[in-house]
Amino acid sequence: MFELLGIPPQALFGQLLLGLINGSFYAILSLGLAIIFGLLNIINFTHGAQYMMGAFVAWMLLNYAGIGYWWALLLAPVIVGAMGIVIDRLFLARLRDLDHLYGLLLTFGLALIIQGLFRNQYGVSGLPYSIPPELAGGRNLGFMFLPNYRGWVVVASLAVCLATWFVIEKTRLGAYLRAATENPTLVQAFGINVPRLITLTYGFGVGLAALAGVLAAPIYSVNPNMGADLIIVVFAVVVIGGMGSILGSIVTGFGLGLIEGLTKVFYPEAAATVIFVVMVVVLLVKPAGLFGRTA
Protein backbone atom coordinates (compact mmCIF):
# COMPACT_ATOMS: atom_id res chain seq x y z
CA MET A 1 0.00 0.00 0.00
CA PHE A 2 1.52 3.34 -0.97
CA GLU A 3 1.05 6.50 1.03
CA LEU A 4 0.85 10.17 0.08
CA LEU A 5 2.43 12.54 2.59
CA GLY A 6 1.80 10.02 5.31
CA ILE A 7 -1.93 9.76 4.53
CA PRO A 8 -3.33 6.41 3.34
CA PRO A 9 -4.86 6.87 -0.14
CA GLN A 10 -8.20 5.40 0.93
CA ALA A 11 -8.64 8.22 3.45
CA LEU A 12 -7.35 10.87 1.09
CA PHE A 13 -9.54 9.95 -1.88
CA GLY A 14 -12.49 9.23 0.37
CA GLN A 15 -12.35 12.77 1.73
CA LEU A 16 -11.75 14.19 -1.72
CA LEU A 17 -14.90 12.42 -2.95
CA LEU A 18 -16.86 13.79 0.01
CA GLY A 19 -15.42 17.21 -0.81
CA LEU A 20 -16.53 16.83 -4.40
CA ILE A 21 -20.05 15.93 -3.21
CA ASN A 22 -20.22 18.92 -0.89
CA GLY A 23 -18.83 20.94 -3.77
CA SER A 24 -21.70 19.79 -6.01
CA PHE A 25 -24.19 21.07 -3.45
CA TYR A 26 -22.30 24.35 -3.14
CA ALA A 27 -22.31 24.65 -6.93
CA ILE A 28 -26.04 23.95 -7.40
CA LEU A 29 -27.05 26.19 -4.48
CA SER A 30 -24.80 29.09 -5.44
CA LEU A 31 -26.01 28.76 -9.04
CA GLY A 32 -29.61 29.12 -7.85
CA LEU A 33 -28.69 32.11 -5.68
CA ALA A 34 -26.87 33.75 -8.58
CA ILE A 35 -29.78 33.28 -11.00
CA ILE A 36 -32.27 34.67 -8.48
CA PHE A 37 -29.97 37.56 -7.63
CA GLY A 38 -29.53 38.40 -11.31
CA LEU A 39 -33.21 39.12 -11.87
CA LEU A 40 -34.65 39.89 -8.44
CA ASN A 41 -31.62 41.64 -6.96
CA ILE A 42 -32.23 39.91 -3.67
CA ILE A 43 -30.29 37.28 -1.83
CA ASN A 44 -32.64 34.42 -1.19
CA PHE A 45 -32.08 33.62 2.46
CA THR A 46 -34.77 30.94 2.25
CA HIS A 47 -32.52 28.94 -0.09
CA GLY A 48 -31.21 26.71 2.71
CA ALA A 49 -34.73 26.04 3.95
CA GLN A 50 -35.83 25.22 0.41
CA TYR A 51 -32.95 22.77 0.04
CA MET A 52 -34.15 21.15 3.25
CA MET A 53 -37.73 21.11 1.93
CA GLY A 54 -36.54 19.28 -1.18
CA ALA A 55 -35.16 16.50 1.00
CA PHE A 56 -38.32 16.42 3.13
CA VAL A 57 -40.66 16.33 0.15
CA ALA A 58 -38.69 13.32 -1.17
CA TRP A 59 -39.06 11.66 2.24
CA MET A 60 -42.79 12.45 2.39
CA LEU A 61 -43.40 11.19 -1.15
CA LEU A 62 -41.79 7.89 -0.16
CA ASN A 63 -43.40 7.49 3.25
CA TYR A 64 -46.89 8.91 2.63
CA ALA A 65 -47.40 8.13 -1.07
CA GLY A 66 -44.93 5.33 -1.77
CA ILE A 67 -43.26 7.33 -4.54
CA GLY A 68 -39.59 6.44 -4.86
CA TYR A 69 -36.35 8.27 -5.43
CA TRP A 70 -36.44 8.70 -9.21
CA TRP A 71 -39.87 10.30 -9.29
CA ALA A 72 -38.95 12.38 -6.25
CA LEU A 73 -35.97 13.72 -8.17
CA LEU A 74 -38.47 15.18 -10.63
CA LEU A 75 -41.45 15.93 -8.37
CA ALA A 76 -39.75 17.49 -5.34
CA PRO A 77 -38.14 20.36 -7.30
CA VAL A 78 -41.46 21.01 -9.05
CA ILE A 79 -43.43 21.05 -5.78
CA VAL A 80 -40.93 23.19 -3.87
CA GLY A 81 -40.45 25.43 -6.93
CA ALA A 82 -44.23 25.94 -7.07
CA MET A 83 -44.18 26.94 -3.41
CA GLY A 84 -41.41 29.36 -4.31
CA ILE A 85 -43.64 30.87 -6.97
CA VAL A 86 -46.36 31.34 -4.36
CA ILE A 87 -43.85 33.07 -2.05
CA ASP A 88 -42.79 35.34 -4.88
CA ARG A 89 -46.36 36.31 -5.82
CA LEU A 90 -47.48 36.76 -2.22
CA PHE A 91 -44.47 38.57 -0.81
CA LEU A 92 -41.48 39.32 -2.99
CA ALA A 93 -43.51 40.81 -5.85
CA ARG A 94 -44.80 43.46 -3.45
CA LEU A 95 -41.28 44.45 -2.41
CA ARG A 96 -39.81 44.98 -5.88
CA ASP A 97 -39.74 48.78 -5.69
CA LEU A 98 -38.22 48.93 -2.22
CA ASP A 99 -34.65 48.76 -0.99
CA HIS A 100 -33.38 45.27 -1.78
CA LEU A 101 -32.40 44.70 1.83
CA TYR A 102 -36.09 44.20 2.62
CA GLY A 103 -36.06 41.15 0.35
CA LEU A 104 -33.20 39.74 2.40
CA LEU A 105 -35.05 40.39 5.66
CA LEU A 106 -38.26 38.86 4.32
CA THR A 107 -36.59 35.69 3.10
CA PHE A 108 -34.73 35.44 6.42
CA GLY A 109 -38.07 35.58 8.25
CA LEU A 110 -39.53 32.93 5.95
CA ALA A 111 -36.52 30.69 6.56
CA LEU A 112 -37.11 30.97 10.32
CA ILE A 113 -40.78 30.04 9.87
CA ILE A 114 -40.12 27.06 7.59
CA GLN A 115 -37.29 25.66 9.70
CA GLY A 116 -39.26 26.17 12.92
CA LEU A 117 -42.33 24.41 11.53
CA PHE A 118 -40.34 21.39 10.34
CA ARG A 119 -38.50 21.24 13.67
CA ASN A 120 -41.80 21.17 15.54
CA GLN A 121 -43.20 18.46 13.31
CA TYR A 122 -40.19 16.18 12.82
CA GLY A 123 -37.74 17.00 15.64
CA VAL A 124 -34.04 17.53 15.09
CA SER A 125 -32.71 13.97 15.12
CA GLY A 126 -33.11 13.41 11.39
CA LEU A 127 -35.02 10.86 9.33
CA PRO A 128 -33.41 8.10 7.26
CA TYR A 129 -33.83 8.03 3.47
CA SER A 130 -32.25 5.02 1.84
CA ILE A 131 -30.23 4.88 -1.35
CA PRO A 132 -32.29 3.69 -4.36
CA PRO A 133 -31.57 -0.03 -5.05
CA GLU A 134 -30.25 0.71 -8.55
CA LEU A 135 -27.41 2.73 -7.01
CA ALA A 136 -26.67 0.56 -3.98
CA GLY A 137 -23.25 -0.96 -3.52
CA GLY A 138 -20.07 0.37 -5.04
CA ARG A 139 -17.01 -0.48 -7.06
CA ASN A 140 -13.35 -0.79 -6.31
CA LEU A 141 -11.26 1.59 -8.38
CA GLY A 142 -7.96 0.14 -7.16
CA PHE A 143 -6.88 3.22 -5.24
CA MET A 144 -10.23 3.66 -3.49
CA PHE A 145 -13.71 2.25 -3.03
CA LEU A 146 -16.37 4.31 -4.81
CA PRO A 147 -19.96 3.96 -3.52
CA ASN A 148 -22.18 4.11 -6.60
CA TYR A 149 -24.57 6.64 -5.15
CA ARG A 150 -21.79 9.13 -4.37
CA GLY A 151 -20.45 8.84 -7.90
CA TRP A 152 -23.98 9.42 -9.19
CA VAL A 153 -24.41 12.58 -7.10
CA VAL A 154 -21.27 14.11 -8.56
CA VAL A 155 -22.20 13.19 -12.14
CA ALA A 156 -25.84 14.29 -11.75
CA SER A 157 -24.87 17.61 -10.16
CA LEU A 158 -22.37 18.33 -12.87
CA ALA A 159 -25.02 17.54 -15.49
CA VAL A 160 -27.59 19.79 -13.80
CA CYS A 161 -25.08 22.65 -13.58
CA LEU A 162 -24.03 22.33 -17.20
CA ALA A 163 -27.66 22.04 -18.37
CA THR A 164 -28.46 25.24 -16.47
CA TRP A 165 -25.47 26.92 -18.05
CA PHE A 166 -26.61 25.76 -21.48
CA VAL A 167 -30.18 27.04 -21.00
CA ILE A 168 -29.00 30.44 -19.82
CA GLU A 169 -26.16 31.02 -22.25
CA LYS A 170 -27.31 29.23 -25.39
CA THR A 171 -31.12 29.31 -25.67
CA ARG A 172 -33.64 31.99 -26.53
CA LEU A 173 -35.21 31.82 -23.06
CA GLY A 174 -31.79 32.31 -21.54
CA ALA A 175 -31.18 35.28 -23.79
CA TYR A 176 -34.42 36.88 -22.52
CA LEU A 177 -33.28 36.18 -19.00
CA ARG A 178 -29.87 37.73 -19.50
CA ALA A 179 -31.40 40.73 -21.26
CA ALA A 180 -33.90 41.24 -18.43
CA THR A 181 -31.02 41.08 -15.94
CA GLU A 182 -29.26 43.89 -17.80
CA ASN A 183 -32.27 46.10 -18.50
CA PRO A 184 -35.75 44.93 -17.49
CA THR A 185 -37.55 48.04 -18.77
CA LEU A 186 -36.22 47.69 -22.28
CA VAL A 187 -37.01 43.97 -22.42
CA GLN A 188 -40.54 44.71 -21.23
CA ALA A 189 -40.87 47.24 -24.05
CA PHE A 190 -40.11 44.46 -26.54
CA GLY A 191 -43.26 42.72 -25.40
CA ILE A 192 -41.79 40.16 -23.04
CA ASN A 193 -43.69 39.62 -19.81
CA VAL A 194 -40.86 40.49 -17.42
CA PRO A 195 -42.83 40.14 -14.15
CA ARG A 196 -43.75 36.58 -15.15
CA LEU A 197 -40.15 35.91 -16.15
CA ILE A 198 -39.00 37.10 -12.73
CA THR A 199 -41.48 34.87 -10.90
CA LEU A 200 -40.56 31.82 -13.00
CA THR A 201 -36.87 32.53 -12.42
CA TYR A 202 -37.44 32.54 -8.68
CA GLY A 203 -39.33 29.25 -8.98
CA PHE A 204 -36.52 27.76 -11.05
CA GLY A 205 -33.79 28.86 -8.61
CA VAL A 206 -35.79 27.41 -5.72
CA GLY A 207 -36.33 24.21 -7.70
CA LEU A 208 -32.57 23.85 -8.09
CA ALA A 209 -32.18 24.11 -4.30
CA ALA A 210 -34.83 21.42 -3.82
CA LEU A 211 -33.08 19.16 -6.35
CA ALA A 212 -29.86 19.47 -4.35
CA GLY A 213 -31.92 18.53 -1.29
CA VAL A 214 -33.20 15.32 -2.92
CA LEU A 215 -29.67 14.40 -4.00
CA ALA A 216 -28.45 15.02 -0.45
CA ALA A 217 -31.23 13.07 1.28
CA PRO A 218 -29.65 9.56 1.06
CA ILE A 219 -26.18 10.85 2.04
CA TYR A 220 -27.05 13.08 4.98
CA SER A 221 -30.12 12.24 7.01
CA VAL A 222 -33.19 14.35 6.30
CA ASN A 223 -33.04 17.01 8.99
CA PRO A 224 -34.82 20.35 9.54
CA ASN A 225 -31.48 22.04 10.23
CA MET A 226 -29.61 20.61 7.22
CA GLY A 227 -29.89 23.83 5.23
CA ALA A 228 -29.34 26.41 7.95
CA ASP A 229 -25.57 26.17 8.32
CA LEU A 230 -25.01 25.09 4.73
CA ILE A 231 -26.51 28.29 3.34
CA ILE A 232 -24.01 30.45 5.23
CA VAL A 233 -21.15 28.49 3.66
CA VAL A 234 -22.84 28.93 0.28
CA PHE A 235 -22.97 32.68 0.90
CA ALA A 236 -19.20 32.61 1.41
CA VAL A 237 -18.89 30.60 -1.83
CA VAL A 238 -20.93 33.25 -3.62
CA VAL A 239 -18.75 36.04 -2.20
CA ILE A 240 -15.63 34.16 -3.32
CA GLY A 241 -16.86 33.44 -6.84
CA GLY A 242 -18.89 36.57 -7.44
CA MET A 243 -22.34 36.21 -8.98
CA GLY A 244 -21.44 37.57 -12.40
CA SER A 245 -20.71 34.28 -14.13
CA ILE A 246 -22.58 30.96 -14.27
CA LEU A 247 -19.52 28.86 -15.04
CA GLY A 248 -17.66 30.79 -12.33
CA SER A 249 -20.24 29.69 -9.73
CA ILE A 250 -19.90 26.06 -10.81
CA VAL A 251 -16.10 26.06 -10.76
CA THR A 252 -15.96 27.89 -7.42
CA GLY A 253 -18.47 25.51 -5.84
CA PHE A 254 -16.64 22.33 -6.83
CA GLY A 255 -13.22 23.85 -6.13
CA LEU A 256 -14.13 24.93 -2.60
CA GLY A 257 -15.64 21.51 -1.89
CA LEU A 258 -12.31 19.93 -2.82
CA ILE A 259 -10.35 22.42 -0.69
CA GLU A 260 -12.64 21.61 2.23
CA GLY A 261 -12.08 17.87 1.66
CA LEU A 262 -8.30 18.30 1.58
CA THR A 263 -8.40 20.34 4.78
CA LYS A 264 -10.31 17.50 6.46
CA VAL A 265 -7.40 15.19 5.66
CA PHE A 266 -4.45 17.40 6.50
CA TYR A 267 -5.75 19.75 9.20
CA PRO A 268 -9.20 18.59 10.36
CA GLU A 269 -9.52 21.33 13.02
CA ALA A 270 -9.80 23.96 10.29
CA ALA A 271 -12.26 22.05 8.08
CA ALA A 272 -15.28 24.02 9.28
CA THR A 273 -13.65 27.40 8.74
CA VAL A 274 -11.42 26.93 5.69
CA ILE A 275 -13.98 28.32 3.22
CA PHE A 276 -14.39 31.45 5.33
CA VAL A 277 -10.61 31.85 5.43
CA VAL A 278 -10.49 31.54 1.63
CA MET A 279 -13.17 34.23 1.51
CA VAL A 280 -11.04 36.57 3.62
CA VAL A 281 -8.02 35.99 1.37
CA VAL A 282 -10.09 36.60 -1.78
CA LEU A 283 -11.51 39.81 -0.29
CA LEU A 284 -8.00 41.01 0.38
CA VAL A 285 -6.55 40.06 -3.00
CA LYS A 286 -9.46 40.42 -5.42
CA PRO A 287 -12.35 42.20 -3.68
CA ALA A 288 -14.80 41.76 -6.57
CA GLY A 289 -14.57 37.95 -6.29
CA LEU A 290 -12.79 35.51 -8.58
CA PHE A 291 -15.30 35.74 -11.43
CA GLY A 292 -17.20 38.82 -10.33
CA ARG A 293 -17.67 42.15 -11.96
CA THR A 294 -17.06 45.06 -9.59
CA ALA A 295 -20.18 45.28 -7.47
Binding site: N41, Y102, L104, G109, G116, A272, M279, A295
Partner: protein, 326 residues
Protein backbone atom coordinates in the same frame (compact mmCIF):
# COMPACT_ATOMS: atom_id res chain seq x y z
CA UNK B 1 -33.61 52.40 3.48
CA UNK B 2 -36.21 54.20 1.43
CA UNK B 3 -38.64 55.06 4.21
CA UNK B 4 -35.90 56.47 6.39
CA UNK B 5 -34.44 58.65 3.67
CA UNK B 6 -37.90 59.94 2.77
CA UNK B 7 -38.41 61.02 6.33
CA UNK B 8 -35.04 62.70 6.44
CA UNK B 9 -35.74 64.35 3.10
CA UNK B 10 -38.29 66.62 4.75
CA UNK B 11 -35.34 68.78 5.66
CA UNK B 12 -35.85 70.10 9.18
CA UNK B 13 -35.36 73.81 9.66
CA UNK B 14 -32.95 75.02 12.35
CA UNK B 15 -35.91 75.75 14.61
CA UNK B 16 -37.31 72.25 14.21
CA UNK B 17 -33.88 70.79 14.95
CA UNK B 18 -33.72 72.74 18.21
CA UNK B 19 -37.26 71.60 19.07
CA UNK B 20 -36.28 67.99 18.36
CA UNK B 21 -33.20 68.31 20.56
CA UNK B 22 -35.35 69.58 23.43
CA UNK B 23 -37.81 66.75 22.93
CA UNK B 24 -35.03 64.15 22.85
CA UNK B 25 -33.48 65.59 26.01
CA UNK B 26 -36.86 65.35 27.74
CA UNK B 27 -37.25 61.72 26.62
CA UNK B 28 -33.75 60.81 27.83
CA UNK B 29 -34.52 62.39 31.21
CA UNK B 30 -37.76 60.41 31.26
CA UNK B 31 -35.86 57.20 30.51
CA UNK B 32 -33.35 57.96 33.29
CA UNK B 33 -36.14 58.52 35.81
CA UNK B 34 -37.89 55.35 34.69
CA UNK B 35 -34.66 53.36 35.02
CA UNK B 36 -34.16 54.75 38.54
CA UNK B 37 -37.53 53.53 39.79
CA UNK B 38 -37.98 50.48 37.54
CA UNK B 39 -36.38 47.88 39.89
CA UNK B 40 -39.10 48.65 42.43
CA UNK B 41 -41.73 47.73 39.85
CA UNK B 42 -40.12 44.98 37.78
CA UNK B 43 -37.75 42.04 38.28
CA UNK B 44 -34.17 43.50 38.05
CA UNK B 45 -32.65 40.56 36.13
CA UNK B 46 -35.32 40.88 33.46
CA UNK B 47 -34.66 44.63 33.28
CA UNK B 48 -30.93 44.04 32.92
CA UNK B 49 -31.57 41.61 30.07
CA UNK B 50 -33.71 44.21 28.32
CA UNK B 51 -31.04 46.90 28.85
CA UNK B 52 -28.24 44.72 27.44
CA UNK B 53 -30.26 43.89 24.35
CA UNK B 54 -31.44 47.48 23.99
CA UNK B 55 -27.84 48.69 23.93
CA UNK B 56 -26.98 45.90 21.47
CA UNK B 57 -29.86 46.95 19.19
CA UNK B 58 -28.93 50.65 19.42
CA UNK B 59 -25.34 49.79 18.45
CA UNK B 60 -26.63 47.77 15.50
CA UNK B 61 -28.98 50.60 14.50
CA UNK B 62 -26.07 53.05 14.47
CA UNK B 63 -24.64 50.99 11.62
CA UNK B 64 -27.88 50.14 9.76
CA UNK B 65 -30.07 53.15 10.40
CA UNK B 66 -27.43 55.85 10.06
CA UNK B 67 -24.67 54.17 8.07
CA UNK B 68 -27.05 52.25 5.81
CA UNK B 69 -24.96 49.09 6.29
CA UNK B 70 -26.81 45.84 7.07
CA UNK B 71 -24.53 43.60 9.10
CA UNK B 72 -25.86 40.08 9.47
CA UNK B 73 -23.09 39.09 11.84
CA UNK B 74 -23.37 41.31 14.88
CA UNK B 75 -23.53 38.29 17.17
CA UNK B 76 -19.77 37.92 16.59
CA UNK B 77 -19.01 41.12 18.55
CA UNK B 78 -21.59 40.48 21.26
CA UNK B 79 -20.33 36.93 21.71
CA UNK B 80 -16.59 37.63 21.52
CA UNK B 81 -16.86 40.35 24.13
CA UNK B 82 -18.92 38.11 26.35
CA UNK B 83 -16.37 35.24 26.10
CA UNK B 84 -13.38 37.51 26.75
CA UNK B 85 -15.14 39.23 29.65
CA UNK B 86 -16.18 35.91 31.21
CA UNK B 87 -12.67 34.47 30.81
CA UNK B 88 -11.03 37.58 32.30
CA UNK B 89 -13.34 37.62 35.29
CA UNK B 90 -13.35 33.89 35.96
CA UNK B 91 -9.93 32.52 34.99
CA UNK B 92 -7.77 35.58 35.54
CA UNK B 93 -9.83 36.73 38.52
CA UNK B 94 -9.95 40.35 37.33
CA UNK B 95 -12.53 42.81 38.76
CA UNK B 96 -15.70 43.29 36.65
CA UNK B 97 -14.80 46.75 35.33
CA UNK B 98 -11.53 45.40 33.86
CA UNK B 99 -13.31 42.34 32.46
CA UNK B 100 -15.97 44.46 30.75
CA UNK B 101 -13.37 46.84 29.33
CA UNK B 102 -11.23 43.99 27.99
CA UNK B 103 -14.26 42.30 26.44
CA UNK B 104 -15.31 45.55 24.79
CA UNK B 105 -11.77 46.15 23.53
CA UNK B 106 -11.72 42.66 21.99
CA UNK B 107 -14.98 43.39 20.17
CA UNK B 108 -13.55 46.70 18.97
CA UNK B 109 -10.46 45.00 17.54
CA UNK B 110 -12.55 42.30 15.88
CA UNK B 111 -14.92 44.95 14.51
CA UNK B 112 -12.02 46.87 13.04
CA UNK B 113 -10.61 43.79 11.28
CA UNK B 114 -13.97 42.45 10.03
CA UNK B 115 -15.13 45.94 9.12
CA UNK B 116 -12.12 46.62 6.94
CA UNK B 117 -12.81 43.34 5.11
CA UNK B 118 -16.56 43.79 4.74
CA UNK B 119 -16.53 47.37 3.45
CA UNK B 120 -14.65 46.15 0.39
CA UNK B 121 -18.01 45.08 -1.03
CA UNK B 122 -21.39 46.80 -1.00
CA UNK B 123 -25.06 46.05 -0.43
CA UNK B 124 -26.07 42.43 -0.45
CA UNK B 125 -22.45 41.22 -0.48
CA UNK B 126 -21.75 43.25 2.66
CA UNK B 127 -24.50 41.38 4.51
CA UNK B 128 -23.23 37.99 3.30
CA UNK B 129 -19.61 38.75 4.22
CA UNK B 130 -20.48 39.87 7.75
CA UNK B 131 -22.60 36.75 8.18
CA UNK B 132 -19.83 34.46 6.93
CA UNK B 133 -17.20 36.11 9.14
CA UNK B 134 -19.50 35.75 12.13
CA UNK B 135 -19.98 32.06 11.33
CA UNK B 136 -16.20 31.72 11.36
CA UNK B 137 -16.20 33.18 14.89
CA UNK B 138 -18.93 30.70 15.82
CA UNK B 139 -16.87 27.70 14.69
CA UNK B 140 -13.82 29.14 16.42
CA UNK B 141 -15.80 29.49 19.67
CA UNK B 142 -17.07 25.93 19.26
CA UNK B 143 -13.53 24.52 19.01
CA UNK B 144 -11.26 26.90 20.96
CA UNK B 145 -10.10 25.42 24.27
CA UNK B 146 -10.97 28.40 26.49
CA UNK B 147 -14.63 28.82 25.49
CA UNK B 148 -15.82 25.56 27.01
CA UNK B 149 -17.46 24.34 23.77
CA UNK B 150 -21.14 23.46 24.17
CA UNK B 151 -21.11 24.28 27.91
CA UNK B 152 -19.76 27.80 27.53
CA UNK B 153 -18.08 29.59 30.42
CA UNK B 154 -20.36 29.13 33.42
CA UNK B 155 -20.42 30.54 36.96
CA UNK B 156 -18.63 33.75 36.04
CA UNK B 157 -18.11 35.73 39.27
CA UNK B 158 -19.83 39.12 39.36
CA UNK B 159 -17.19 40.47 41.72
CA UNK B 160 -16.92 43.89 43.33
CA UNK B 161 -17.02 47.02 41.20
CA UNK B 162 -13.85 49.10 41.88
CA UNK B 163 -13.32 46.73 44.80
CA UNK B 164 -16.15 48.47 46.66
CA UNK B 165 -19.64 47.66 45.40
CA UNK B 166 -20.74 44.06 45.73
CA UNK B 167 -22.39 43.16 42.41
CA UNK B 168 -23.78 39.84 43.60
CA UNK B 169 -26.80 41.82 44.77
CA UNK B 170 -29.13 42.18 41.79
CA UNK B 171 -30.15 45.74 42.63
CA UNK B 172 -26.59 47.10 42.81
CA UNK B 173 -25.70 45.35 39.56
CA UNK B 174 -28.88 46.71 38.02
CA UNK B 175 -27.86 50.33 38.61
CA UNK B 176 -24.39 49.66 37.18
CA UNK B 177 -25.99 48.15 34.05
CA UNK B 178 -28.41 51.07 33.81
CA UNK B 179 -25.51 53.54 33.90
CA UNK B 180 -23.60 51.57 31.23
CA UNK B 181 -26.74 51.53 29.08
CA UNK B 182 -27.36 55.27 29.46
CA UNK B 183 -23.74 56.17 28.75
CA UNK B 184 -23.81 53.90 25.69
CA UNK B 185 -27.01 55.28 24.16
CA UNK B 186 -26.07 58.91 24.93
CA UNK B 187 -22.75 58.31 23.20
CA UNK B 188 -24.60 56.91 20.15
CA UNK B 189 -26.95 59.91 20.22
CA UNK B 190 -23.95 62.24 20.29
CA UNK B 191 -22.32 60.41 17.36
CA UNK B 192 -25.49 60.58 15.27
CA UNK B 193 -25.81 64.33 15.77
CA UNK B 194 -22.14 65.17 15.33
CA UNK B 195 -20.65 66.38 12.02
CA UNK B 196 -19.40 62.81 11.64
CA UNK B 197 -22.99 61.59 11.89
CA UNK B 198 -24.14 64.05 9.26
CA UNK B 199 -21.53 62.75 6.82
CA UNK B 200 -22.66 59.21 7.61
CA UNK B 201 -26.23 60.06 6.66
CA UNK B 202 -24.97 61.65 3.46
CA UNK B 203 -23.12 58.43 2.61
CA UNK B 204 -26.18 56.34 3.43
CA UNK B 205 -28.43 58.41 1.18
CA UNK B 206 -26.05 58.90 -1.74
CA UNK B 207 -22.56 57.49 -1.57
CA UNK B 208 -21.31 58.69 -4.99
CA UNK B 209 -22.31 62.22 -4.07
CA UNK B 210 -20.50 62.03 -0.74
CA UNK B 211 -17.41 60.80 -2.58
CA UNK B 212 -17.64 63.63 -5.07
CA UNK B 213 -17.83 66.09 -2.17
CA UNK B 214 -14.44 64.82 -1.10
CA UNK B 215 -15.31 62.53 1.78
CA UNK B 216 -13.23 59.39 2.20
CA UNK B 217 -16.42 57.32 2.56
CA UNK B 218 -14.62 54.06 3.30
CA UNK B 219 -12.93 55.59 6.30
CA UNK B 220 -16.29 56.80 7.64
CA UNK B 221 -17.80 53.37 7.10
CA UNK B 222 -14.93 51.67 8.89
CA UNK B 223 -15.19 54.03 11.86
CA UNK B 224 -18.94 53.55 12.23
CA UNK B 225 -18.55 49.78 11.83
CA UNK B 226 -15.91 49.69 14.57
CA UNK B 227 -17.99 51.92 16.86
CA UNK B 228 -21.03 49.73 16.35
CA UNK B 229 -19.03 46.55 17.05
CA UNK B 230 -17.49 48.14 20.15
CA UNK B 231 -20.85 49.09 21.62
CA UNK B 232 -22.29 45.67 20.73
CA UNK B 233 -19.28 44.29 22.62
CA UNK B 234 -20.03 46.51 25.62
CA UNK B 235 -23.53 45.03 25.66
CA UNK B 236 -22.15 41.48 25.37
CA UNK B 237 -19.54 41.91 28.11
CA UNK B 238 -22.13 43.40 30.46
CA UNK B 239 -24.48 40.55 29.65
CA UNK B 240 -21.79 38.01 30.59
CA UNK B 241 -21.45 39.60 34.05
CA UNK B 242 -25.22 39.81 34.51
CA UNK B 243 -25.99 36.19 33.63
CA UNK B 244 -22.59 34.92 34.79
CA UNK B 245 -22.45 33.00 31.52
CA UNK B 246 -20.89 33.22 28.08
CA UNK B 247 -22.23 30.64 25.65
CA UNK B 248 -22.53 29.70 21.99
CA UNK B 249 -26.01 31.28 21.86
CA UNK B 250 -24.35 34.69 21.89
CA UNK B 251 -22.25 33.98 18.76
CA UNK B 252 -24.83 32.01 16.77
CA UNK B 253 -26.39 33.52 13.64
CA UNK B 254 -29.84 33.42 15.25
CA UNK B 255 -28.57 36.13 17.61
CA UNK B 256 -27.51 38.25 14.63
CA UNK B 257 -31.02 37.78 13.25
CA UNK B 258 -32.63 38.72 16.56
CA UNK B 259 -30.91 42.09 16.72
CA UNK B 260 -32.05 42.83 13.18
CA UNK B 261 -35.59 41.94 14.25
CA UNK B 262 -35.44 44.17 17.34
CA UNK B 263 -34.30 47.12 15.26
CA UNK B 264 -36.91 46.45 12.57
CA UNK B 265 -39.76 46.17 15.10
CA UNK B 266 -38.74 49.33 16.94
CA UNK B 267 -37.92 51.38 13.85
CA UNK B 268 -34.72 51.53 11.81
CA UNK B 269 -32.95 54.87 11.83
CA UNK B 270 -34.85 56.19 14.84
CA UNK B 271 -33.14 57.12 18.10
CA UNK B 272 -35.49 55.31 20.45
CA UNK B 273 -36.86 52.57 18.19
CA UNK B 274 -34.24 49.87 18.90
CA UNK B 275 -34.78 50.24 22.67
CA UNK B 276 -38.51 49.70 22.25
CA UNK B 277 -37.91 46.85 19.81
CA UNK B 278 -35.52 45.13 22.22
CA UNK B 279 -38.02 45.50 25.07
CA UNK B 280 -40.81 44.03 22.93
CA UNK B 281 -38.80 41.04 21.68
CA UNK B 282 -37.20 40.20 25.05
CA UNK B 283 -40.60 40.41 26.77
CA UNK B 284 -42.09 38.18 24.09
CA UNK B 285 -39.31 35.61 24.50
CA UNK B 286 -39.83 35.65 28.26
CA UNK B 287 -43.54 35.01 28.07
CA UNK B 288 -43.39 32.51 25.21
CA UNK B 289 -40.32 30.59 26.41
CA UNK B 290 -42.46 27.53 27.21
CA UNK B 291 -43.48 27.22 23.57
CA UNK B 292 -39.99 26.01 22.58
CA UNK B 293 -39.38 25.92 18.84
CA UNK B 294 -42.55 27.90 18.17
CA UNK B 295 -40.68 31.03 19.32
CA UNK B 296 -38.58 30.80 16.15
CA UNK B 297 -41.73 30.51 14.04
CA UNK B 298 -43.30 33.50 15.79
CA UNK B 299 -40.15 35.56 15.28
CA UNK B 300 -40.21 34.64 11.60
CA UNK B 301 -43.85 35.71 11.36
CA UNK B 302 -43.02 39.05 13.03
CA UNK B 303 -40.20 39.50 10.51
CA UNK B 304 -42.57 38.91 7.60
CA UNK B 305 -45.29 41.17 9.03
CA UNK B 306 -42.79 43.98 9.71
CA UNK B 307 -41.30 43.81 6.23
CA UNK B 308 -44.65 43.58 4.45
CA UNK B 309 -46.82 45.99 6.44
CA UNK B 310 -44.87 47.79 9.12
CA UNK B 311 -41.55 48.88 7.70
CA UNK B 312 -41.30 52.05 9.81
CA UNK B 313 -41.46 50.16 13.10
CA UNK B 314 -43.28 51.22 16.27
CA UNK B 315 -41.33 54.41 16.88
CA UNK B 316 -41.21 55.21 13.17
CA UNK B 317 -45.02 55.20 13.01
CA UNK B 318 -45.23 57.23 16.21
CA UNK B 319 -42.76 59.79 14.83
CA UNK B 320 -44.81 60.14 11.64
CA UNK B 321 -48.05 60.60 13.62
CA UNK B 322 -46.48 63.21 15.90
CA UNK B 323 -44.55 64.78 13.00
CA UNK B 324 -41.44 64.77 15.21
CA UNK B 325 -38.17 62.87 14.71
CA UNK B 326 -37.82 60.34 17.50
Amino acid sequence: MASVSERMAAAPSARAAVDAAHLHRAIFVGIAIFLAVAPFLLYPVFLMKVLCFALFACAFNLLLGYGGLLSFGHAAYLGTASYICAHTAKVWGMPPEVAILLGTAAAAALGFVFGSLAIRRQGIYFAMITLALAQMVFFFSLQAPFTGGEDGIQAVPRGHLFGLIDLSRDTSLYYVVAVIFLVGVLFIYRVIHSPFGQVLKAIRDNEPRAISLGYATNRYKLVVFTLSATLAGLAGATKAIVFQLASLTDVHWTMSGEVVLMTLVGGMGTVFGPMVGAAVIVTMQNYLAHLGAWVTVIQGVIFVICVMLFREGIIGVLARRLKRPL
